[in-house]
């Protein structure tokens, strides 16, 4: 075996894994705090999944409607999350977001403007007021480019196309990370006493998803193997509007901005079915006639919001119901129509949607309806962290953005993701600084551990016989679609978990072409280990939660149950190497936050609470 001295070693105070919005924002924070910061990313800088975020970032700036404030944003987030959110995180998020957004302007971001020259804000599902700072329908690209062009001048080192394999530990604390360079296939050891995960979700475990190849739950797998806990993994968000036709684009996102700008959903009978799908909790704040919905779109502040802008879980289930009831669109979705608005308006407000449909589906959205259906989009759950410092139960390991749990509870509001990245990215950076300030001694990299992790991934290359990893990925996606889909049932979940156990054996026996240089097959083998951990954790949490809440729907347990509000599902790897799920009892809500979350809008608009 190679001596540790012969493996390339790079030292940092903090290693950030992932260069999306959360990772770059964390790295900017730690660089500015004087820490030697490294960032590793699976892809090239600026290509992270954040670029796919379209609609905007939620922050109660109050630029378009002065009645908005952090308390209303906090209340919307809790209600959207069906009160399973970590209270402090939802409050911190709503409080910090406006300044994190303004700061982006100082770094070069160019948001769309209001008539008085301020940052413009748009309506989105579940948000009481126009709240999403945006740039047409390419807000994520603006965020990533802003952080990238600002970040490279802050002193951080960005290591591109460098793939994390496993965390290194010393006496229960983080001491670094083993990774490999895609370009050469060579290993690299990062010696770092603090690691911030900003690794995103695990959507690639599903066939129909808006996620890219990178979304393989790397953070979930590595964190679990290092002893950290995963929480709320059953809450996987199916975005209601993904493309459904042609087959090769199935799952690609259609921004909620289409509905925010007035898009309506209809079934094959031409019925605007969302009016028949308004949950009681939202009935007082939702329009009950087409006429009222139109008035709202025309800017009448007394009118209530159209039902198309209900939360994503509600809209996704409603579309499923139409399809299952035989009232779906031609290719098994629903129709989403924005053609009633002026053609130039559509092209200006939704330029990339216009191009996406024109070029990939030969549909002109200014004249024809789109066909849309649910697509796996986002993990509300993830690595369990402290709500203030973002540290996991593993000293020195932090997590921010989609890979962490807590802010969104059982369902995320659109627009709360981009603001999550910048708020908790910065918080994780500060958390790491605080940890390092109080850390005595410097954790060491253990040679034997490095070798063990290396063997774990080189086996795939050295094997004489073994299975094609792409076939195993296909089978994993089939299991998740069939057994852990948008609507779930106990028996199916149990069968799914059993099938995953069988699949695990196959994952251990996949084989890659024996070249380590830029080999996507080998990379798929490595990703599979993390994907299957994420998939199993999701299935275990889904089986444990015997109710329907937010994004988690059980056919055999309809509706929310009181017991469901008392706990969060938590998964960890036990000493035998198996995933174990338990119910972690929730702490009582802080009194002030509880009061705000249950106030009426009138009480909050004037900030009388």
């Amino acid at each position: 075996m190679i001596d540790l001295n012969e493996i390339q070693t790079i030292e940092h105070d903090v290693l950030v894994v992932g260069a999306g919005g959360a990772g770059l924002r964390a790295a900017i924070e730690t660089s500015n705090l004087g820490l030697n910061t490294g960032v590793i990313t699976k892809s090239l800088l600026g290509k992270a999944h954040t670029v796919m975020a379209e609609g905007g970032m939620a922050a109660a700036l109050g630029n378009v409607d002065g009645r908005d404030n952090w308390k209303v944003h906090f209340r919307d987030t809790m209600r959207g999350g069906k009160f399973l959110n970590v209270w402090e995180m939802a409050a911190i998020h709503a409080q910090d977001a406006p300044e994190r957004v303004r700061e982006l302007e100082d770094w070069g971001a160019v948001f769309d403007r209001t008539r008085t020259g301020l940052i413009n804000q748009r309506n989105f599902g579940g948000h009481r007021y126009p709240r999403l700072a945006h740039v047409g329908d390419r807000t994520g690209l603006e965020l990533i480019r802003t952080l990238q062009d600002h970040g490279i001048h802050q002193g951080m080192d960005v290591h591109m196309e460098c793939i994390a394999i496993d965390l290194l530990m010393d006496g229960g604390k983080i001491s670094g990370m083993l990774a490999y360079w895609r370009e050469t296939g060579r290993f690299v050891v990062f010696k770092a006493p603090a690691v911030i995960f900003a690794t995103g979700g695990a959507g690639k475990a599903w066939r129909v998803t808006s996620n890219s190849w990178e979304y393989t739950g790397d953070g979930y797998g590595m964190a679990a193997r290092a002893g950290a806990e995963l929480m709320d993994m059953e809450f996987t968000q199916f975005h209601p509007t993904g493309m459904v036709w042609p087959p090769s684009v199935r799952g690609i996102l259609v921004t909620e901005g289409v509905r925010g700008e007035g898009g309506i959903l209809t079934n094959s009978d031409g019925v605007r079915f969302m009016f028949d799908n308004i949950p009681d909790r939202f009935a007082p704040e939702t329009a009950d006639s087409k006429e009222e919905a139109q008035r709202w779109l025309d800017g009448d502040r007394e009118a209530r919001r159209p039902p198309e802008l209900l939360t994503r879980d509600v809209v996704a289930r409603a579309i499923m119901r139409e399809v299952k009831g035989g009232r779906g669109s031609e290719h098994g979705g629903a129709y989403l129509d924005i053609s009633h608005r002026d053609s130039d308006f559509v092209k200006r407000k939704l330029p990339s949607m216009y191009h996406q449909f024109k070029e990939l589906a030969e549909v002109d959205i200014t004249a024809q309806p789109m066909e849309v259906g649910p697509t796996l989009h986002y993990y509300m759950g993830g690595i369990r962290v402290d709500g203030v410092t973002q540290m996991t139960c593993v000293p020195g390991l932090f997590a921010a953005g989609e890979c962490s749990a807590g802010l969104h509870g059982a369902n995320r509001l659109g627009g709360n993701s981009l603001s999550d990245l910048i708020v908790f990215g910065a918080r994780a950076g500060r958390g790491a600084k605080e940890y390092l300030d109080n850390l005595s001694g410097s954790p060491n990299v253990q040679q034997e551990q490095v070798h063990e992790h290396m063997r774990g991934v080189t086996d795939f290359l050295n094997r004489e016989d073994g299975e094609n990893p792409y076939v195993v990925v296909d089978d994993l996606q089939k299991i998740m679609e069939l057994n852990v889909g948008i609507v779930r049932e106990g028996k199916e979940l149990e069968e799914g978990i059993e099938a995953l156990q069988e699949l695990k054996k196959r994952v251990a026996n996949v084989k890659a072409h024996p070249t380590s240089q830029y080999n996507p097959g080998w990379n798929t083998c490595i990703d599979l280990r993390n994907m299957i951990t994420s998939a199993e954790a999701t299935a275990l949490c889904a089986l444990q939660r015997e109710e329907s809440r937010g994004a988690h729907t059980r056919l055999d347990f309809e509706g929310e149950r009181e017991e469901g509000l008392t706990y969060n599902g938590v998964v960890r790897l036990n000493s035998e190497g198996n995933l174990e799920v338990r119910k972690e009892m929730r702490k009582d809500a802080p009194e002030d936050l509880h009061k705000i979350a249950h106030s009426t809008l009138e009480e909050l608009e004037g900030s009388r609470v």
Binding site: V51, R145, P246, P520
Partner: protein, 253 residues
């Protein structure tokens, strides 16, 4: 559904060759789907960059039948029936392996551009800019950094002039900074000397290659060239500056 032959360049910096693969093409498929089929069925080690598969990240740039393009946005029904589809890495950059090439030169160019330098916020803590004043800047900021414009630029393809010109992508970025209502830096000297604006001879190949339809030549490069001319080569402007030395170069119009 139909069979289609792909000729894919396989190799690395030491050399390579074209290898033929046959793919079953389903309705609606794009070139990137076919590459994934080849990986799944024939060559699991075929290297190719991609991420979003929706034309938003600019990772999957390559040369398709000799033309620079995004493989995720090139539909299979744009080819003639029976036409062989040839895939090669971008030619302007050194190859790593197969369809992936080393684009790090672009990242180094970007680092050379001085960072955004905003004016102070208004007393109430806000920045104010009018939409009509940021429309043009937003056009440049649509750039997905696919580097197809860099690939197609003959100044950059020519190894002798490559080091003196930042390339269309970064001319557009400089334009976005120069026209940014909040930026206080004077970048015209940098545009002329560091980025070599004079080298572009306006063949508009970059604009044609841009999948985001950004008017790189007309809206970014030509206005920058004009500002360089005004500053350094216009005797009247030179005289005005001598007569009114109090007016700083950095004041934005």
């Amino acid at each position: 559904m139909s069979e289609r032959t792909f000729r894919v360049w396989r190799g690395n910096q030491d050399g390579g060759e074209f290898v033929d693969y046959s793919v079953e093409v389903q309705p609606g498929m794009v070139v990137l789907d076919c590459i994934h089929e080849i990986q799944k069925e024939h060559a699991s080690d075929l290297s190719c960059r991609w991420n979003c598969k929706a034309g938003k990240c600019g990772s999957c740039s390559m040369e398709i039948n000799g033309k620079p393009g995004l493989s995720c946005m090139t539909r299979m029904n744009t080819f003639e029936e029976g036409e062989t589809v040839t895939l090669q890495p971008m030619k302007a950059f050194p190859v790593i392996k197969d369809l992936a090439c080393d684009v790090s030169w672009n990242y180094k160019q970007n680092e050379r551009i001085r960072p955004f330098a905003p004016r102070e916020r208004d007393p109430d803590g806000e920045h104010r800019m009018m939409q009509e004043d940021v429309d043009r800047v937003q056009e440049f900021r649509k750039c997905i950094e696919c580097f197809l414009c860099q690939d197609t630029c003959h100044i950059l393809r020519d190894r002798e002039t490559e080091q003196n010109f930042a390339g269309p992508r970064f001319m557009a970025r400089l334009a976005s900074l120069d026209m940014h209502p909040l930026d206080t830096d004077d970048r015209i000297q940098e545009v002329k000397d560091e980025s070599g604006s004079g080298l572009c001879n306006i063949t508009r190949c970059c604009t044609e290659a841009c999948p985001e339809h950004i008017g790189i030549t007309d809206n970014a490069i030509i206005p920058l060239k004009e500002r360089v001319v005004d500053r350094f080569y216009d005797p009247l402007m030179w005289l005005m500056r001598k007569l009114r030395p109090g007016k700083k170069e950095t004041v934005k119009n």
